[in-house]
């Protein structure tokens, strides 16, 4: 499952970050490393952009970035 298909208000764990090039590296630089937990806060009103929190900060990702992040559920629900 990629981040784009995650549900709001849940906590997920990053399994892997796919893709290559700048976008991939930027995600790694921002701390989207496998094993980190992220909280999916919600989606923008017009869709296509997701707001997540990790390592103590919030960040908005468009689907072309969010789709690179493979996640699994981590809040035991």
């Amino acid at each position: 499952m990629t981040l784009m298909h995650a549900e709001s208000d849940r906590i997920y764990r990053i399994v892997s970050v796919s893709g290559d090039g700048d976008r991939h590296r930027r995600l790694l630089d921002m701390g989207f490393t496998p094993g980190s937990e992220i909280y999916v806060a919600g989606y923008a009103p017009f869709g296509g952009t997701v707001l997540v929190s990790l390592r103590g900060f919030s960040v908005a990702l468009r689907e072309n970035a969010a789709d690179l992040i493979n996640v699994e559920c981590a809040d035991g629900l």
Partner: protein, 766 residues
């Protein structure tokens, strides 16, 4: 002793605030990312040493993605700074340290600063910075820019570091987990040839950094050798860096006593059953009181946990799927109402200033000059030209400053980033991004400075389009024109007309963006949008006064220089002229002899062009045209020159429609020279000329429509209203039809609003 020091760090960690404190400057700061777009530096004297302090744009890593991040990287890698102050936001330390590690990899002389300590302690946390100092082997200075003494300590530590510590490159243990040494051996010669630090080059090779790879110019053989060392080095590198950070961060940030007390309070005073078994027991017993307590505590716990993860609860409301946009409109409306509405703070201050200019300056001066028998034209120059002209603009000082204040507050509180997030989906459809919203909202303050904030946008075409369309946003200098004309002609619907102008400008900009995006040449590329949401912050009182003072000063200086000079030139040209009186050619002051002024000759020649808009013809047509022409220098002059001609009611007479079309034209026509220069700088000649032409044509056409619709409304209100309704209905029908056609194949409930191309795996509509 001269030193060079640079401020480096992630975006929005307060580098510029530190810089401003150190150098006593007023560089623009804001609570969002990428406010600083170029390196700024200043010399200061500190304990008999001359220090050049340089503020650099923020960056996440030394592998860069935009030109202004490149500026920072080059500054760091050039190595001509004796010390690099790495500014970190202590509330988000682990990500900030990621950059610190990269600085250490390059071997930069780093002094680490933990900024925003005040926010940390407000959260009930403390930092054991000694631990960090020992782990990283660097001086660490915890501070807050709110206290000057701490800035002093930072400088003192930095100077001490430069003078007394022998800078030694640190061993970074995590690099041993990677084939760093092997890569070093392979690329050694290339790095030397390219003049790049060997370790830095090796790390960048692992990261696949195109900039460094190009410089190294590796042979195919070398590339193969590196490829043989294993795949996914880039991922591994990021992983080991974060692993190392987590290791050294262990026990650095702790909850202070206050928080522990909270825990104790939770467990013992209320005696809340928090374990799973206790909870089940309560459920079994059906103890409603107890269960309510448990739920409440569960909620508090969860919110605390989310806060620790970086989510602010306010976003539940401000970014709520349904509330977000209505809230945004309410906030903007409130801002406009408080600033421009009748009987609001802005209104009272303006009325007060008007009274002072009329009764305390204009009348006594006129009387005084007439009494001493000064020449008529001198009296005219002083009273009509200078006092009325400048006074007419200066009375708007309170409202313009209020406008800037609100914009700055929205920016500082962190709300503007949220606006970018929630409008991103909408803006993307027309080829702009949420980031364009920054620039466009700033355009409500001043177009020229707004254009500069466009730097840092990822896509060049999108950036240039944003730059070109920003002047359509009604800048604060245009507002006095609306206000003065509305006061004279549309007094009852003043706030409505003014707000309407702001909406009209924005709507036209958006329509153009949509149209341009349909043309292949101007279509934006696909952009990845990764934008950090800054935390919500309450601006300090000092900051509010700083904004007020700075903007008031800038406005008064502008009125005192540019507007003053142009005003006098316009007044002289419009008050002196040549003409034939009693068969003789005479030259003189128009107040004394019946002659046409120089400006009248010129403006009359082009005035007929504006006749279809309602304000070009007639006896006073040339004055309206002159006002527009002089407005090219600065939009404030439009009103000041009209004031010096005797006021708007003299120029437009009883022609309401002409006044309206003039307001519309003022909103949309070519921006001031300062803005044009800024556009040229950011996007080039072609975009500047294209933009200016686009604006001129738009202004003409839209003003024409408004004028004739106005005329129609006056003579046959029913017909005008009917036309508007028919057009609105047609537009809605067209929108619905195209939407239905477009979304025929979209998945139901797709989080990408249909843009996923089916990858979301949800069912598609038939």
């Amino acid at each position: 002793m001269d030193y060079n020091i640079a401020l480096v760090g992630n975006p929005n960690v307060g580098k510029t605030s530190v810089y401003n404190k150190i150098t006593h400057s007023f560089e623009h700061v804001g609570n969002w990312h990428g406010v600083t777009v170029e390196a700024v530096s200043k010399d200061i004297l500190f304990e008999h040493r001359r220090i050049t302090v340089c503020d650099l744009p923020g960056l996440y890593s030394l592998t860069v993605y935009s030109p202004e991040e490149g500026v920072s990287r080059d500054a760091v890698c050039a190595g001509d700074h004796q010390a690099i102050i790495d500014v970190c936001d202590v509330n988000d330390l682990s990500r900030n340290l990621y950059l610190t590690l990269q600085l250490l990899e390059v071997g930069a002389p780093v002094v680490l600063t933990l900024n925003m300590m005040d926010e940390l302690s407000r959260r009930g946390q403390v930092v054991n910075y000694r631990k960090l100092e020992a782990a990283l082997g660097l001086p660490v200075v915890p501070m807050s820019t709110k206290r000057h003494s701490e800035v002093h300590i930072l400088l003192s530590v930095t100077v001490d570091y430069i003078e007394h510590s022998r800078h030694k490159r640190r061993e970074l243990p995590y690099l041993k987990k990677l084939p760093t040494e092997q890569i070093k051996t392979i690329i050694e010669k290339n790095a030397e040839k390219a003049g790049i630090d060997l370790l830095y080059a090796a790390v960048k090779v692992m990261e696949d950094d195109s900039y460094v790879l190009e410089k190294l110019a590796l042979s195919e053989e070398q590339k193969a050798g590196i490829a043989a060392l294993g795949e996914g080095l880039q991922d591994k590198l990021a992983a080991v860096r974060y692993e190392y950070i987590d290791k050294i961060m262990d026990g650095v940030i702790m909850s202070s006593v206050a928080d522990e007390h909270h825990e104790m309070h939770e467990h013992y005073v209320h005696d809340v059953p928090l374990t799973q078994s206790e909870r089940e027991e309560a459920e079994k017993r059906g103890d409603e009181e107890e269960l309510k307590h448990i739920r409440l505590h569960g909620k508090i716990k969860k919110n605390e946990d989310l806060k620790r993860r970086g989510f602010s609860g306010a976003d539940r409301i401000f970014l709520n799927k349904y509330l977000a946009l209505p809230l945004f409109f309410v906030i903007m409306l409130a801002v406009f109402f408080v600033t421009f509405g009748d009987y609001m703070p802005g209104y009272w201050m303006k009325t007060g200033l008007e009274w002072i200019f009329d009764n305390a300056l204009h009348d006594p001066v006129e009387k005084g000059l007439t009494n001493v028998g000064a020449w008529n034209w001198v009296t005219g120059l002083v009273t009509d030209g200078i006092i009325d002209g400048l006074g007419g603009v200066l009375v708007f000082l309170p409202q313009i400053v209020l406008m800037f204040l609100f914009l700055a507050l929205l920016e500082d509180s962190g709300y503007i980033s949220r606006v970018a997030f929630m409008t991103d989906g909408l803006f993307r459809k027309i080829g702009l991004s949420g980031r364009s919203v920054f620039t466009m909202l700033m355009g409500f303050g001043c177009s020229a400075t707004a254009v500069l904030t466009s730097r840092g946008m990822e896509d060049e075409k999108m950036r240039k389009k944003t730059v070109m369309l920003t002047p359509f946003m009604s800048c604060s200098a245009r507002f006095p024109v609306y206000s003065a004309i509305c006061a004279a002609y549309f007094a009852s619907g003043k706030a409505f007309v003014i707000f309407g102008m702001y909406i009209l400008g924005a709507a036209i900009a958006l329509v153009y963006a949509a149209v341009l995006n349909k043309i292949k040449k101007f279509k934006s590329g696909e952009m990845s949008f990764i934008m950090e949401m800054p935390p919500y912050r309450i601006p300090t009182v000092t900051r509010v006064f700083q904004i007020l003072w700075h903007n008031a000063k800038a406005f008064v200086i502008r009125v005192g220089t540019v507007v003053f000079a142009i005003n006098i030139i316009v007044w002289l040209l419009s008050s002196f002229g040549v003409g034939t009186v009693d068969g003789k050619t005479v030259f003189g002051y128009c107040g004394d002899v019946q002659v046409k002024s120089f400006l009248e000759y010129f403006a009359s020649a082009i005035a007929p062009v504006f006749a279809p808009l309602g304000f070009g013809g007639g006896e006073h047509g040339w004055q309206a045209v002159t006002a527009l022409l002089s407005g090219l220098a600065a939009k404030e002059v439009v009103l000041s020159s009209m004031e010096s001609f005797g006021g708007v009611d003299v120029i437009f007479g009883s022609n309401y429609c002409a006044a309206l079309s003039f307001v519309v034209f003022t909103l949309l026509y070519v921006p001031c020279i300062a803005t044009l220069t800024a556009i040229k700088k950011e996007a080039g000649w072609k975009w500047m000329l294209g933009g200016a032409a686009l604006q001129l044509i738009t202004a003409y056409v839209v003003a024409l429509i408004f004028y004739w619709m106005g005329i129609l409304f006056v003579y046959n209100a029913g017909a005008a209203v009917s036309i508007i309704i028919v057009l609105a209905v047609a537009a809605i029908v067209a929108a619905v039809v195209t939407h239905v056609i477009r979304t025929r194949n979209v998945c139901i409930g797709c989080p990408g609003a249909g843009s996923c191309g089916g990858s979301c795996g949800r069912k598609r509509k038939k």
